[in-house]
């Protein structure tokens, strides 16, 4: 029997499908929503460069998305992406990687890319754990969770990554989950067409190395929990810190226009080149 073929398979490296993510992993959903977002925008993948680091989430664009990809070192995709964007401002540069990658080891790159407002779209898949390496605590792991490196309970308060990025100066920041697929698709489209630093925190399920540790056996159960924990930004504003303790605040955090780094860098360079031209020298 021939199998039915998904209408967007052309955006995926079909020759290596099905992908290697575990059953019920949110990484697959992010890939799915991403190809839908790109397709609806009629964005040409040959005009895109996807940059990833190391981790399960980093595999979403590389190898699975059919554009040019840079699979870089753990924590550094934003640094590599900055280089690409400066040399080729005509290309759409998208970073997709995990919370450990982007907010843990790569946290400093993240904050400063947001501060400089570099025209990149960063999709951070927050599964609240280090998935690929077997479930170590991440800077996003909720309090009290037992991980392989916090075998008793996690005592470190989790980073509110989207809020940090918004405060650092990004142009566009949103948080959605792998349940909010329609909202996430719209947010990805906004991020990829917005000038300046765009950031989406995608709260996602790692059933294998996170779900199991909190007593949930399947991806579906973990996704149900993530759905139930979600509260809209507006509603969250009326809730106390205590009420928000185990909640996931979803929605848009900011969408504003600020001077962008790469454009200004090229302007400054042009000014300097002109001031050194022969005409001016005489």
């Amino acid at each position: 029997m021939t199998e039915p073929r998904h209408r967007l398979m052309g955006y995926v490296r079909e020759e290596i499908m099905p992908h290697r993510f575990c059953a019920g992993c949110g990484c697959g959903t992010v890939l799915n929503v991403f190809v839908n977002a790109v397709d609806e925008l009629a964005m040409d993948p040959t005009r895109m460069v996807c940059v990833s680091g190391i981790g399960c989430s980093a595999w979403i664009p590389s190898p699975y998305f059919r554009s040019d990809t840079l699979h870089t070192t753990h924590g550094r995709p934003i640094a590599y992406a900055t280089g690409v964007k400066i040399m080729r401002p005509d290309l759409n540069v998208v970073v997709i990687a995990g919370d450990g990658d982007i907010a843990g080891i790569g946290g400093n790159h993240l904050i400063h890319a947001a501060r400089r407002n570099i025209d990149l779209s960063v999709l951070m898949v927050n599964n609240m754990i280090y998935g690929m390496t077997g479930g170590q605590v991440a800077p996003t792991t909720p309090l009290g969770v037992k991980t392989s490196t916090t075998p008793h309970r996690n005592i470190e308060p989790p980073f509110k990554v989207a809020e940090v990025v918004a405060a650092a100066g990004a142009s566009y920041v949103a948080r959605w989950t792998t349940y909010h697929v329609f909202q996430l698709k719209k947010a990805m489209q906004r991020a990829m067409t917005k000038k300046g630093f765009s950031f989406i925190e995608i709260v996602s399920q790692c059933p294998e190395n996170y779900g199991r540790r909190i007593g949930l056996k399947t991806g579906a159960e973990l996704l149900r929990k993530i759905k139930e924990q979600s509260v809209r930004v507006k509603k969250a504003q009326e809730m106390s810190e205590e009420e928000l303790q185990h909640k996931i605040v979803v929605g848009e955090l900011c969408d504003l226009d600020r001077p962008e780094f790469v454009t200004q860098l090229h302007e400054v360079t042009k000014e300097q080149v002109e001031s050194f031209s022969l005409e001016n020298a005489s």
Binding site: E3, R7, V12, H19, A23, L31, Y179, V181, F182, T218
Partner: protein, 81 residues
């Protein structure tokens, strides 16, 4: 609506069963070649075409097509790249 599952991609995560608003899917007890229990489309007539399962499926394994009167598949909605 016509709802089909690519059973060789499906990993039996049951996300479609859990989240379909009109309960179109059901567990089947059938194993695919890789040893995953794949769901079945049990109540296709209840599908409203909302495409939630299509977007949620981590395997891009759900294929929804629109049917016309005579039952012919009209289009693979949107794109055939």
């Amino acid at each position: 609506m016509l709802v089909k599952i690519n059973t060789s991609f499906c990993k039996g995560c049951d996300i479609c069963i859990e989240f379909c608003p009109t309960d179109v899917f059901e567990q089947s007890g059938t194993l695919n070649r890789k040893g995953y229990y794949v769901p079945v489309v049990a109540r296709v007539e209840d599908c409203t075409g909302c495409r939630l399962c299509d977007l949620l499926c981590p395997e891009l394994a759900i294929v929804i097509t629109e049917e016309q009167g005579n039952g012919d598949v009209v289009a693979d909605v949107d794109n055939d790249d």
